[in-house]
Protein backbone atom coordinates (compact mmCIF):
# COMPACT_ATOMS: atom_id res chain seq x y z
CA UNK A 1 0.00 0.00 0.00
CA UNK A 2 1.22 3.48 -0.78
CA UNK A 3 2.18 5.67 2.14
CA UNK A 4 -0.64 8.11 1.43
CA UNK A 5 -3.31 5.40 1.48
CA UNK A 6 -1.80 3.85 4.55
CA UNK A 7 -1.88 7.16 6.40
CA UNK A 8 -5.49 7.73 5.46
CA UNK A 9 -6.49 4.27 6.62
CA UNK A 10 -4.66 4.79 9.88
CA UNK A 11 -6.39 8.10 10.46
CA UNK A 12 -9.75 6.49 9.82
CA UNK A 13 -8.97 3.66 12.22
CA UNK A 14 -7.89 6.07 14.95
CA UNK A 15 -11.09 8.04 14.44
CA UNK A 16 -13.22 4.88 14.73
CA UNK A 17 -11.50 3.78 17.92
CA UNK A 18 -11.88 7.24 19.40
CA UNK A 19 -15.58 7.30 18.64
CA UNK A 20 -16.13 3.86 20.15
CA UNK A 21 -14.23 4.77 23.32
CA UNK A 22 -16.18 7.99 23.53
CA UNK A 23 -19.46 6.18 23.18
CA UNK A 24 -18.61 3.47 25.68
CA UNK A 25 -17.36 5.66 28.46
CA UNK A 26 -19.75 8.56 28.39
CA UNK A 27 -22.01 8.48 31.45
CA UNK A 28 -25.66 8.89 30.55
CA UNK A 29 -26.03 12.62 30.02
CA UNK A 30 -29.76 12.51 29.54
CA UNK A 31 -31.89 11.20 32.37
CA UNK A 32 -33.34 7.82 31.35
CA UNK A 33 -37.04 7.85 30.71
CA UNK A 34 -38.98 5.63 33.05
CA UNK A 35 -39.80 2.18 31.77
CA UNK A 36 -43.40 1.30 31.14
CA UNK A 37 -46.44 3.50 31.50
CA UNK A 38 -46.12 6.37 33.93
CA UNK A 39 -47.22 4.72 37.12
CA UNK A 40 -48.89 6.74 39.76
CA UNK A 41 -47.25 6.42 43.14
CA UNK A 42 -48.32 3.26 44.91
CA UNK A 43 -49.13 5.27 47.99
CA UNK A 44 -51.90 7.80 47.36
CA UNK A 45 -51.89 11.03 49.40
CA UNK A 46 -54.56 9.70 51.71
CA UNK A 47 -53.26 6.13 52.25
CA UNK A 48 -50.32 6.71 54.64
CA UNK A 49 -50.11 3.74 56.99
CA UNK A 50 -53.74 3.06 57.78
CA UNK A 51 -54.54 -0.62 57.06
CA UNK A 52 -57.96 0.06 55.58
CA UNK A 53 -56.46 2.50 53.05
CA UNK A 54 -53.81 -0.08 52.04
CA UNK A 55 -56.48 -2.74 51.63
CA UNK A 56 -58.50 -0.36 49.47
CA UNK A 57 -55.51 0.11 47.21
CA UNK A 58 -55.86 -3.57 46.36
CA UNK A 59 -59.61 -3.46 45.86
CA UNK A 60 -60.41 -4.70 42.41
CA UNK A 61 -61.58 -1.38 41.04
CA UNK A 62 -58.42 0.37 42.20
CA UNK A 63 -56.08 -2.08 40.54
CA UNK A 64 -54.29 -0.62 37.56
CA UNK A 65 -54.47 -3.65 35.31
CA UNK A 66 -53.78 -3.45 31.58
CA UNK A 67 -57.46 -3.58 30.82
CA UNK A 68 -59.79 -2.14 33.44
CA UNK A 69 -61.84 -4.85 35.08
CA UNK A 70 -59.82 -7.65 33.47
CA UNK A 71 -56.71 -9.52 34.59
CA UNK A 72 -54.13 -10.54 31.96
CA UNK A 73 -51.95 -13.48 32.97
CA UNK A 74 -49.00 -14.77 30.97
CA UNK A 75 -47.31 -18.16 30.59
CA UNK A 76 -45.27 -19.99 27.96
CA UNK A 77 -46.58 -22.21 25.16
CA UNK A 78 -46.64 -25.22 25.36
CA UNK A 79 -47.99 -25.03 28.92
CA UNK A 80 -46.74 -28.23 30.49
CA UNK A 81 -48.47 -30.48 33.01
CA UNK A 82 -48.55 -30.85 35.94
CA UNK A 83 -48.65 -27.07 36.00
CA UNK A 84 -51.33 -26.81 33.32
CA UNK A 85 -53.60 -29.68 32.39
CA UNK A 86 -55.20 -30.21 28.97
CA UNK A 87 -58.83 -29.40 28.31
CA UNK A 88 -61.14 -32.34 27.72
CA UNK A 89 -62.32 -32.09 24.15
CA UNK A 90 -59.30 -30.11 22.96
CA UNK A 91 -57.32 -27.08 24.06
CA UNK A 92 -58.38 -23.55 23.21
CA UNK A 93 -56.24 -21.56 20.83
CA UNK A 94 -53.30 -20.95 20.88
CA UNK A 95 -52.33 -23.57 23.43
CA UNK A 96 -50.35 -26.51 22.07
CA UNK A 97 -52.81 -29.42 21.76
CA UNK A 98 -50.27 -31.93 23.05
CA UNK A 99 -49.85 -30.21 26.43
CA UNK A 100 -51.94 -28.14 28.86
CA UNK A 101 -54.54 -25.36 28.58
CA UNK A 102 -54.24 -22.60 31.21
CA UNK A 103 -57.88 -21.62 30.87
CA UNK A 104 -59.04 -24.88 32.47
CA UNK A 105 -58.03 -23.89 35.98
CA UNK A 106 -56.61 -27.37 36.29
CA UNK A 107 -52.99 -28.00 36.95
CA UNK A 108 -50.96 -26.49 39.75
CA UNK A 109 -50.11 -23.12 38.24
CA UNK A 110 -53.42 -22.70 36.49
CA UNK A 111 -55.15 -23.28 39.83
CA UNK A 112 -52.80 -20.93 41.70
CA UNK A 113 -53.27 -18.24 39.06
CA UNK A 114 -57.04 -18.35 39.34
CA UNK A 115 -56.75 -18.42 43.13
CA UNK A 116 -54.66 -15.23 43.07
CA UNK A 117 -57.11 -13.69 40.61
CA UNK A 118 -59.96 -14.56 42.95
CA UNK A 119 -58.16 -12.96 45.92
CA UNK A 120 -57.72 -9.82 43.85
CA UNK A 121 -61.42 -9.85 43.10
CA UNK A 122 -61.40 -11.14 39.53
CA UNK A 123 -63.88 -13.84 38.53
CA UNK A 124 -62.82 -16.63 36.20
CA UNK A 125 -64.42 -14.90 33.21
CA UNK A 126 -62.41 -11.76 33.87
CA UNK A 127 -59.09 -13.57 33.35
CA UNK A 128 -57.35 -13.56 29.96
CA UNK A 129 -54.21 -15.54 29.17
CA UNK A 130 -51.36 -14.47 26.88
CA UNK A 131 -48.34 -16.42 25.59
CA UNK A 132 -45.06 -15.22 27.07
CA UNK A 133 -41.82 -17.12 26.29
CA UNK A 134 -40.14 -18.13 29.51
CA UNK A 135 -37.08 -15.90 29.25
CA UNK A 136 -39.04 -12.87 28.12
CA UNK A 137 -41.07 -12.68 31.31
CA UNK A 138 -38.33 -11.27 33.47
CA UNK A 139 -36.25 -9.39 30.86
CA UNK A 140 -36.16 -5.67 31.47
CA UNK A 141 -38.77 -3.71 29.57
CA UNK A 142 -42.47 -3.20 29.13
CA UNK A 143 -44.75 -6.20 29.67
CA UNK A 144 -47.98 -7.18 28.02
CA UNK A 145 -49.31 -9.02 31.04
CA UNK A 146 -50.39 -8.06 34.55
CA UNK A 147 -48.51 -11.01 35.97
CA UNK A 148 -46.78 -14.10 34.57
CA UNK A 149 -46.74 -17.53 36.16
CA UNK A 150 -44.31 -20.02 34.60
CA UNK A 151 -42.14 -21.95 37.06
CA UNK A 152 -39.92 -18.90 37.40
CA UNK A 153 -37.46 -19.52 40.19
CA UNK A 154 -36.69 -16.46 42.27
CA UNK A 155 -33.16 -15.09 41.86
CA UNK A 156 -31.79 -11.73 42.92
CA UNK A 157 -30.51 -11.09 39.37
CA UNK A 158 -33.93 -11.54 37.87
CA UNK A 159 -35.30 -8.74 40.06
CA UNK A 160 -33.09 -6.34 38.12
CA UNK A 161 -35.49 -6.42 35.23
CA UNK A 162 -38.83 -7.28 36.82
CA UNK A 163 -40.73 -7.61 40.08
CA UNK A 164 -40.80 -11.11 41.50
CA UNK A 165 -43.49 -11.94 44.02
CA UNK A 166 -43.16 -13.90 47.20
CA UNK A 167 -43.03 -17.64 46.67
CA UNK A 168 -46.08 -19.69 45.89
CA UNK A 169 -44.18 -22.96 45.67
CA UNK A 170 -41.07 -24.11 47.45
CA UNK A 171 -39.14 -26.93 45.92
CA UNK A 172 -35.87 -28.19 44.58
CA UNK A 173 -34.19 -29.01 41.35
CA UNK A 174 -34.03 -32.70 40.45
CA UNK A 175 -31.87 -34.81 38.17
CA UNK A 176 -33.40 -37.08 35.52
CA UNK A 177 -31.28 -39.82 33.99
CA UNK A 178 -31.72 -42.87 31.76
CA UNK A 179 -33.19 -45.70 33.87
CA UNK A 180 -30.81 -48.16 32.24
CA UNK A 181 -27.86 -45.80 32.21
CA UNK A 182 -24.67 -45.63 34.27
CA UNK A 183 -26.03 -43.01 36.66
CA UNK A 184 -29.38 -44.59 37.47
CA UNK A 185 -28.31 -45.59 40.94
CA UNK A 186 -26.28 -42.52 41.84
CA UNK A 187 -26.87 -41.29 45.37
CA UNK A 188 -24.47 -38.43 45.62
CA UNK A 189 -23.50 -35.25 43.87
CA UNK A 190 -19.94 -36.56 43.62
CA UNK A 191 -21.09 -39.52 41.54
CA UNK A 192 -22.85 -37.15 39.18
CA UNK A 193 -19.77 -35.08 38.57
CA UNK A 194 -18.70 -37.54 35.90
CA UNK A 195 -21.95 -37.23 33.99
CA UNK A 196 -22.57 -35.20 30.87
CA UNK A 197 -25.49 -33.05 32.00
CA UNK A 198 -27.81 -30.68 30.20
CA UNK A 199 -30.34 -27.96 30.95
CA UNK A 200 -32.28 -25.17 29.30
CA UNK A 201 -30.46 -21.88 28.73
CA UNK A 202 -31.09 -19.12 31.23
CA UNK A 203 -32.57 -21.36 33.92
CA UNK A 204 -31.64 -21.87 37.55
CA UNK A 205 -31.34 -25.54 36.55
CA UNK A 206 -28.26 -24.59 34.54
CA UNK A 207 -26.95 -22.54 37.44
CA UNK A 208 -27.47 -25.55 39.72
CA UNK A 209 -25.32 -27.68 37.44
CA UNK A 210 -22.56 -25.11 37.32
CA UNK A 211 -22.58 -24.12 40.99
CA UNK A 212 -23.72 -27.16 42.94
CA UNK A 213 -22.80 -30.22 40.87
CA UNK A 214 -19.77 -28.76 39.03
CA UNK A 215 -19.34 -31.68 36.63
CA UNK A 216 -16.01 -32.40 34.97
CA UNK A 217 -17.50 -32.15 31.49
CA UNK A 218 -19.05 -28.90 30.34
CA UNK A 219 -22.85 -29.03 30.47
CA UNK A 220 -24.87 -28.94 27.27
CA UNK A 221 -27.19 -25.97 27.00
CA UNK A 222 -30.41 -26.22 25.02
CA UNK A 223 -32.94 -23.76 23.68
CA UNK A 224 -35.76 -25.64 25.42
CA UNK A 225 -36.31 -28.47 27.86
CA UNK A 226 -37.74 -30.51 25.01
CA UNK A 227 -34.42 -30.44 23.17
CA UNK A 228 -32.66 -31.50 26.37
CA UNK A 229 -35.10 -34.37 26.83
CA UNK A 230 -34.50 -35.39 23.21
CA UNK A 231 -30.77 -35.43 23.81
CA UNK A 232 -31.21 -37.52 26.94
CA UNK A 233 -33.25 -40.03 24.99
CA UNK A 234 -30.50 -40.17 22.37
CA UNK A 235 -27.92 -40.65 25.10
CA UNK A 236 -26.14 -37.56 23.84
CA UNK A 237 -26.29 -36.40 27.46
CA UNK A 238 -26.61 -38.53 30.57
CA UNK A 239 -28.80 -36.40 32.80
CA UNK A 240 -30.93 -33.28 32.78
CA UNK A 241 -31.67 -30.94 35.64
CA UNK A 242 -35.19 -29.54 35.96
CA UNK A 243 -37.46 -28.57 38.84
CA UNK A 244 -39.00 -31.52 40.65
CA UNK A 245 -42.59 -31.34 39.38
CA UNK A 246 -41.32 -31.08 35.81
CA UNK A 247 -39.06 -34.06 36.50
CA UNK A 248 -42.10 -36.11 37.51
CA UNK A 249 -43.91 -35.10 34.38
CA UNK A 250 -40.98 -36.01 32.15
CA UNK A 251 -40.47 -39.39 33.76
CA UNK A 252 -44.08 -40.47 34.22
CA UNK A 253 -45.92 -38.90 31.34
CA UNK A 254 -43.82 -37.34 28.63
CA UNK A 255 -41.19 -39.99 28.08
CA UNK A 256 -40.31 -43.53 29.06
CA UNK A 257 -37.05 -45.12 30.06
CA UNK A 258 -36.05 -42.22 32.29
CA UNK A 259 -35.91 -41.98 36.07
CA UNK A 260 -35.45 -39.33 38.74
CA UNK A 261 -32.21 -40.08 40.49
CA UNK A 262 -32.72 -37.55 43.27
CA UNK A 263 -33.49 -33.97 44.16
CA UNK A 264 -30.89 -31.34 44.91
CA UNK A 265 -31.69 -29.77 48.24
CA UNK A 266 -29.91 -28.29 51.25
CA UNK A 267 -28.12 -31.61 51.91
CA UNK A 268 -26.21 -31.13 48.69
CA UNK A 269 -25.51 -27.52 49.46
CA UNK A 270 -28.15 -26.02 47.21
CA UNK A 271 -29.97 -22.91 48.32
CA UNK A 272 -33.70 -23.36 48.79
CA UNK A 273 -35.64 -22.26 45.75
CA UNK A 274 -39.12 -20.99 45.26
CA UNK A 275 -41.29 -20.07 42.31
CA UNK A 276 -42.41 -16.48 42.01
CA UNK A 277 -44.99 -14.76 39.93
CA UNK A 278 -43.43 -12.15 37.60
CA UNK A 279 -44.64 -8.59 37.22
CA UNK A 280 -43.32 -5.57 35.39
CA UNK A 281 -40.62 -3.71 37.29
CA UNK A 282 -42.16 -1.41 39.91
CA UNK A 283 -45.62 -2.58 38.95
CA UNK A 284 -48.44 -1.11 41.07
CA UNK A 285 -49.87 -4.61 41.35
CA UNK A 286 -46.89 -6.21 43.07
CA UNK A 287 -47.87 -5.41 46.63
CA UNK A 288 -51.41 -6.59 46.06
CA UNK A 289 -50.28 -9.84 44.46
CA UNK A 290 -47.97 -10.47 47.41
CA UNK A 291 -50.86 -9.86 49.77
CA UNK A 292 -53.00 -12.30 47.82
CA UNK A 293 -50.28 -14.96 47.97
CA UNK A 294 -49.86 -14.37 51.71
CA UNK A 295 -53.58 -14.80 52.20
CA UNK A 296 -53.61 -18.03 50.20
CA UNK A 297 -50.63 -19.36 52.15
CA UNK A 298 -52.24 -18.54 55.48
CA UNK A 299 -55.46 -20.25 54.44
CA UNK A 300 -53.53 -23.36 53.46
CA UNK A 301 -54.76 -23.05 49.87
CA UNK A 302 -51.30 -23.17 48.32
CA UNK A 303 -50.45 -26.33 50.20
CA UNK A 304 -53.75 -27.93 49.24
CA UNK A 305 -53.27 -27.09 45.59
CA UNK A 306 -49.74 -28.49 45.65
CA UNK A 307 -51.04 -31.65 47.18
CA UNK A 308 -53.83 -31.87 44.65
CA UNK A 309 -51.85 -31.27 41.50
CA UNK A 310 -48.26 -32.18 42.20
CA UNK A 311 -47.04 -35.74 42.73
CA UNK A 312 -46.08 -36.29 46.31
CA UNK A 313 -43.85 -39.29 45.88
CA UNK A 314 -40.80 -39.01 48.00
CA UNK A 315 -37.71 -38.38 46.07
CA UNK A 316 -34.49 -38.81 48.02
CA UNK A 317 -32.18 -35.90 48.38
CA UNK A 318 -28.81 -36.32 46.75
CA UNK A 319 -26.01 -36.31 49.23
CA UNK A 320 -22.82 -34.31 48.60
Amino acid sequence: MRTSTRLAALALLVALVAVFAFIATRPPGVPSPTTGPTSSPAVSPTSAASPSAVADACARDNLETMTAGKLTIGTDNPAFPPYFLPRAGGNTEPWDPAQGDPTTGEGFESAVAYAIADELGFAKEDVTWVVVPFLNAFQPGEKDFDFDINQVTFTEERTAGADLSDGYYFGNQAVVVRADGPFASAKTITELKAAKLGAQVGTTSLATIEEVIQPTQEASVYQSNDDAIEALGNEQIQGIVVDLPTAFFIVNVQTSGNAIVGQIGPDAGADPEHFSVVLEKDSPLTDCVNQAIAALADAGTLEALAEQWLPDKDVPELQP
Binding site: A8, P28, L135, E157, A160, V201, D227, A228, Q236
Partner: protein
Protein backbone atom coordinates in the same frame (compact mmCIF):
# COMPACT_ATOMS: atom_id res chain seq x y z
CA UNK B 1 2.47 17.67 -7.15
CA UNK B 2 3.26 16.00 -3.84
CA UNK B 3 1.93 18.96 -1.93
CA UNK B 4 -1.47 18.70 -3.55
CA UNK B 5 -1.66 14.97 -2.73
CA UNK B 6 -0.77 15.63 0.88
CA UNK B 7 -3.43 18.27 1.02
CA UNK B 8 -6.04 15.85 -0.36
CA UNK B 9 -5.13 13.28 2.27
CA UNK B 10 -5.33 15.87 5.02
CA UNK B 11 -8.75 17.01 3.82
CA UNK B 12 -9.95 13.40 3.57
CA UNK B 13 -8.72 12.61 7.08
CA UNK B 14 -10.22 15.73 8.63
CA UNK B 15 -13.57 15.26 6.91
CA UNK B 16 -13.72 11.60 7.97
CA UNK B 17 -13.01 12.43 11.57
CA UNK B 18 -15.52 15.29 11.51
CA UNK B 19 -18.14 13.06 9.90
CA UNK B 20 -17.68 10.27 12.44
CA UNK B 21 -17.61 12.75 15.31
CA UNK B 22 -20.87 14.22 14.10
CA UNK B 23 -22.48 10.79 13.96
CA UNK B 24 -21.09 9.94 17.39
CA UNK B 25 -22.45 13.17 18.83
CA UNK B 26 -25.88 12.55 17.31
CA UNK B 27 -26.00 9.01 18.67
CA UNK B 28 -24.94 9.98 22.15
CA UNK B 29 -27.53 12.70 22.46
CA UNK B 30 -30.46 10.76 21.06
CA UNK B 31 -33.27 10.00 23.50
CA UNK B 32 -33.09 6.45 24.83
CA UNK B 33 -29.36 6.42 24.14
CA UNK B 34 -28.34 5.81 27.76
CA UNK B 35 -30.41 2.65 27.90
CA UNK B 36 -29.01 1.45 24.57
CA UNK B 37 -25.54 2.26 25.79
CA UNK B 38 -26.05 0.30 29.00
CA UNK B 39 -27.68 -2.59 27.21
CA UNK B 40 -25.21 -3.04 24.38
CA UNK B 41 -22.01 -1.21 25.24
CA UNK B 42 -21.61 -1.98 28.90
CA UNK B 43 -17.86 -2.07 29.58
CA UNK B 44 -18.22 -4.00 32.82
CA UNK B 45 -20.20 -6.79 31.24
CA UNK B 46 -17.84 -6.70 28.26
CA UNK B 47 -14.83 -7.15 30.51
CA UNK B 48 -16.25 -10.07 32.46
CA UNK B 49 -17.75 -11.80 29.43
CA UNK B 50 -15.12 -11.75 26.74
CA UNK B 51 -12.62 -14.24 28.25
CA UNK B 52 -15.16 -17.00 28.74
CA UNK B 53 -16.73 -16.23 25.37
CA UNK B 54 -13.41 -16.42 23.60
CA UNK B 55 -12.89 -19.85 25.17
CA UNK B 56 -16.27 -21.03 23.92
CA UNK B 57 -15.35 -19.66 20.51
CA UNK B 58 -12.77 -22.43 20.38
CA UNK B 59 -15.62 -24.79 19.57
CA UNK B 60 -16.58 -22.74 16.51
CA UNK B 61 -12.98 -22.54 15.38
CA UNK B 62 -12.48 -26.29 15.61
CA UNK B 63 -15.74 -26.81 13.79
CA UNK B 64 -14.95 -24.61 10.83
CA UNK B 65 -11.36 -25.76 10.46
CA UNK B 66 -12.41 -29.39 10.29
CA UNK B 67 -15.47 -28.73 8.15
CA UNK B 68 -13.64 -26.49 5.69
CA UNK B 69 -11.03 -29.11 4.86
CA UNK B 70 -13.71 -31.74 4.31
CA UNK B 71 -15.85 -29.35 2.28
CA UNK B 72 -13.01 -28.42 -0.07
CA UNK B 73 -12.48 -32.10 -0.77
CA UNK B 74 -16.06 -33.33 -0.97
CA UNK B 75 -17.19 -30.38 -3.09
CA UNK B 76 -14.41 -31.12 -5.57
CA UNK B 77 -15.59 -34.71 -5.85
CA UNK B 78 -19.11 -33.54 -6.58
CA UNK B 79 -17.96 -30.95 -9.10
CA UNK B 80 -15.85 -33.52 -10.94
CA UNK B 81 -18.65 -36.09 -10.90
CA UNK B 82 -20.99 -33.50 -12.27
CA UNK B 83 -18.60 -32.58 -15.10
CA UNK B 84 -17.63 -36.08 -16.17
CA UNK B 85 -18.67 -36.51 -19.79
CA UNK B 86 -19.99 -39.62 -21.43
CA UNK B 87 -23.37 -41.34 -21.48
CA UNK B 88 -22.31 -44.08 -19.08
CA UNK B 89 -21.87 -41.49 -16.34
CA UNK B 90 -25.31 -40.00 -16.79
CA UNK B 91 -26.83 -41.38 -13.54
CA UNK B 92 -23.85 -40.09 -11.56
CA UNK B 93 -24.16 -36.63 -13.09
CA UNK B 94 -27.86 -36.58 -12.23
CA UNK B 95 -27.23 -37.71 -8.65
CA UNK B 96 -24.65 -34.99 -8.20
CA UNK B 97 -27.07 -32.41 -9.56
CA UNK B 98 -29.84 -33.60 -7.24
CA UNK B 99 -27.46 -33.46 -4.29
CA UNK B 100 -26.57 -29.86 -5.06
CA UNK B 101 -30.21 -28.85 -5.54
CA UNK B 102 -31.35 -30.49 -2.31
CA UNK B 103 -28.68 -29.13 -0.02
CA UNK B 104 -28.81 -25.65 -1.43
CA UNK B 105 -32.55 -25.59 -0.78
CA UNK B 106 -32.59 -26.80 2.81
CA UNK B 107 -32.17 -24.35 5.69
CA UNK B 108 -29.15 -25.19 7.80
CA UNK B 109 -31.06 -25.34 11.04
CA UNK B 110 -33.43 -27.93 9.63
CA UNK B 111 -30.57 -30.12 8.49
CA UNK B 112 -28.81 -29.86 11.81
CA UNK B 113 -31.90 -30.81 13.78
CA UNK B 114 -32.58 -33.78 11.52
CA UNK B 115 -29.00 -35.00 11.71
CA UNK B 116 -28.14 -33.94 15.24
CA UNK B 117 -31.26 -35.18 17.01
CA UNK B 118 -33.02 -37.35 14.48
CA UNK B 119 -30.25 -39.71 13.47
CA UNK B 120 -29.02 -40.47 16.99
CA UNK B 121 -32.66 -41.14 17.90
CA UNK B 122 -32.64 -44.08 15.49
CA UNK B 123 -30.21 -45.83 17.86
CA UNK B 124 -28.47 -47.55 14.97
CA UNK B 125 -25.45 -49.48 16.20
CA UNK B 126 -22.15 -47.86 15.42
CA UNK B 127 -23.73 -44.53 14.49
CA UNK B 128 -22.15 -41.68 16.45
CA UNK B 129 -24.29 -39.48 18.70
CA UNK B 130 -21.85 -36.68 19.38
CA UNK B 131 -23.43 -33.30 18.47
CA UNK B 132 -20.08 -31.96 17.27
CA UNK B 133 -19.79 -34.83 14.81
CA UNK B 134 -23.23 -34.23 13.38
CA UNK B 135 -22.62 -30.51 13.17
CA UNK B 136 -19.56 -31.23 11.03
CA UNK B 137 -21.58 -33.60 8.85
CA UNK B 138 -24.41 -31.08 8.44
CA UNK B 139 -22.07 -28.24 7.54
CA UNK B 140 -20.12 -30.38 5.09
CA UNK B 141 -23.28 -31.59 3.33
CA UNK B 142 -24.71 -28.08 3.13
CA UNK B 143 -21.65 -26.14 2.10
CA UNK B 144 -20.28 -28.68 -0.35
CA UNK B 145 -23.36 -28.05 -2.45
CA UNK B 146 -22.46 -24.37 -2.79
CA UNK B 147 -18.72 -24.87 -3.10
CA UNK B 148 -19.10 -27.54 -5.78
CA UNK B 149 -20.92 -25.00 -7.93
CA UNK B 150 -18.09 -22.57 -7.41
CA UNK B 151 -15.61 -25.23 -8.50
CA UNK B 152 -17.76 -26.02 -11.51
CA UNK B 153 -17.79 -22.40 -12.54
CA UNK B 154 -14.03 -22.36 -12.20
CA UNK B 155 -13.62 -25.51 -14.24
CA UNK B 156 -15.87 -24.19 -16.97
CA UNK B 157 -13.97 -20.92 -17.04
CA UNK B 158 -10.81 -22.71 -18.10
CA UNK B 159 -10.80 -22.56 -21.87
CA UNK B 160 -11.53 -25.91 -23.56
CA UNK B 161 -8.37 -25.49 -25.59
CA UNK B 162 -6.43 -26.29 -22.42
CA UNK B 163 -8.19 -29.62 -22.14
CA UNK B 164 -7.71 -30.15 -25.87
CA UNK B 165 -3.99 -29.52 -25.55
CA UNK B 166 -3.71 -31.85 -22.57
CA UNK B 167 -5.70 -34.63 -24.22
CA UNK B 168 -3.69 -34.26 -27.43
CA UNK B 169 -0.58 -35.08 -25.48
CA UNK B 170 -2.15 -38.37 -24.48
CA UNK B 171 -3.31 -37.39 -20.98
CA UNK B 172 -6.54 -39.06 -19.92
CA UNK B 173 -9.66 -37.10 -18.99
CA UNK B 174 -8.96 -37.31 -15.26
CA UNK B 175 -5.28 -36.55 -15.72
CA UNK B 176 -6.09 -33.51 -17.80
CA UNK B 177 -8.50 -32.40 -15.09
CA UNK B 178 -6.04 -32.96 -12.31
CA UNK B 179 -2.87 -31.49 -13.79
CA UNK B 180 -4.14 -28.87 -16.20
CA UNK B 181 -7.71 -27.76 -15.52
CA UNK B 182 -8.10 -27.86 -11.76
CA UNK B 183 -4.93 -25.97 -10.86
CA UNK B 184 -6.12 -23.15 -13.09
CA UNK B 185 -9.76 -23.42 -12.06
CA UNK B 186 -9.14 -23.32 -8.33
CA UNK B 187 -6.90 -20.27 -8.53
CA UNK B 188 -9.61 -18.36 -10.31
CA UNK B 189 -12.34 -19.08 -7.79
CA UNK B 190 -10.51 -18.21 -4.61
CA UNK B 191 -12.64 -15.09 -3.92
CA UNK B 192 -15.99 -16.91 -4.10
CA UNK B 193 -14.45 -19.80 -2.14
CA UNK B 194 -13.51 -17.35 0.56
CA UNK B 195 -17.05 -16.02 0.53
CA UNK B 196 -18.37 -19.48 1.29
CA UNK B 197 -15.69 -20.00 3.91
CA UNK B 198 -16.81 -16.89 5.74
CA UNK B 199 -20.40 -18.06 5.54
CA UNK B 200 -19.27 -21.35 7.04
CA UNK B 201 -17.59 -19.62 9.95
CA UNK B 202 -20.85 -17.91 10.79
CA UNK B 203 -22.93 -21.04 10.40
CA UNK B 204 -20.88 -22.92 12.97
CA UNK B 205 -23.23 -21.38 15.53
CA UNK B 206 -25.78 -23.98 14.41
CA UNK B 207 -24.04 -26.41 16.73
CA UNK B 208 -25.46 -24.47 19.68
CA UNK B 209 -28.89 -25.87 18.95
CA UNK B 210 -27.57 -29.32 19.69
CA UNK B 211 -26.55 -28.27 23.18
CA UNK B 212 -22.84 -27.68 22.66
CA UNK B 213 -21.72 -24.49 24.34
CA UNK B 214 -20.16 -22.48 21.53
CA UNK B 215 -19.83 -18.73 21.18
CA UNK B 216 -23.52 -18.14 20.51
CA UNK B 217 -24.74 -20.39 23.30
CA UNK B 218 -22.28 -18.77 25.68
CA UNK B 219 -23.49 -15.35 24.63
CA UNK B 220 -27.05 -16.41 25.43
CA UNK B 221 -25.99 -17.79 28.80
CA UNK B 222 -24.15 -14.58 29.61
CA UNK B 223 -27.08 -12.50 28.43
CA UNK B 224 -29.60 -14.28 30.60
CA UNK B 225 -27.25 -14.13 33.57
CA UNK B 226 -26.68 -10.39 33.26
CA UNK B 227 -29.85 -9.19 31.54
CA UNK B 228 -27.55 -7.29 29.26
CA UNK B 229 -27.05 -7.58 25.51
CA UNK B 230 -23.38 -6.65 25.50
CA UNK B 231 -22.38 -10.33 25.22
CA UNK B 232 -24.03 -10.39 21.80
CA UNK B 233 -21.88 -7.44 20.82
CA UNK B 234 -18.82 -9.29 22.05
CA UNK B 235 -19.78 -12.23 19.86
CA UNK B 236 -20.26 -9.92 16.88
CA UNK B 237 -16.84 -8.37 17.45
CA UNK B 238 -15.16 -11.76 17.66
CA UNK B 239 -16.61 -12.71 14.28
CA UNK B 240 -15.53 -9.40 12.76
CA UNK B 241 -12.01 -9.71 14.07
CA UNK B 242 -11.85 -13.17 12.54
CA UNK B 243 -13.30 -12.61 9.10
CA UNK B 244 -12.10 -9.17 8.08
CA UNK B 245 -8.35 -9.86 8.24
CA UNK B 246 -9.00 -13.17 6.50
CA UNK B 247 -10.70 -11.33 3.65
CA UNK B 248 -7.83 -8.85 3.29
CA UNK B 249 -5.28 -11.64 3.44
CA UNK B 250 -7.03 -13.50 0.66
CA UNK B 251 -7.20 -10.36 -1.48
CA UNK B 252 -3.47 -10.00 -1.06
CA UNK B 253 -2.78 -13.65 -1.88
CA UNK B 254 -4.90 -13.49 -5.02
CA UNK B 255 -3.23 -10.29 -6.19
CA UNK B 256 0.21 -11.73 -5.60
CA UNK B 257 -0.69 -14.90 -7.46
CA UNK B 258 -2.07 -12.90 -10.38
CA UNK B 259 1.14 -10.91 -10.60
CA UNK B 260 3.15 -14.08 -10.76
CA UNK B 261 1.26 -15.89 -13.39
CA UNK B 262 -0.91 -14.10 -15.91
CA UNK B 263 -3.14 -16.32 -17.98
CA UNK B 264 -2.09 -16.77 -21.60
CA UNK B 265 -3.61 -17.73 -24.89
CA UNK B 266 -6.48 -20.03 -25.44
CA UNK B 267 -8.28 -18.53 -28.42
CA UNK B 268 -9.12 -21.72 -30.30
Amino acid sequence: MRGSRRRSIAIAAVSSVAFLAAIGFAIVNAPGWPRVRDSFFNLEVFAESWPVMLRSFGVNVQLFLIAEVLILGWALVIAVLRSTPGPVFFPIRVLAMVYVDVFRALPGILVIFILGFGVPALRLPGVPRDPFFWAVVALVLLYSAYVSEVYRAGIESVHPSQTAAARSLGLGQLQALRYVVLPQAVRRVIPPLLNDFIGLQKDTVLVSFLGTVDLFNRAQIRQSATFNYTPYLVAALIFLVLTIPLARLTDWLVARDARQRAVTGGVR
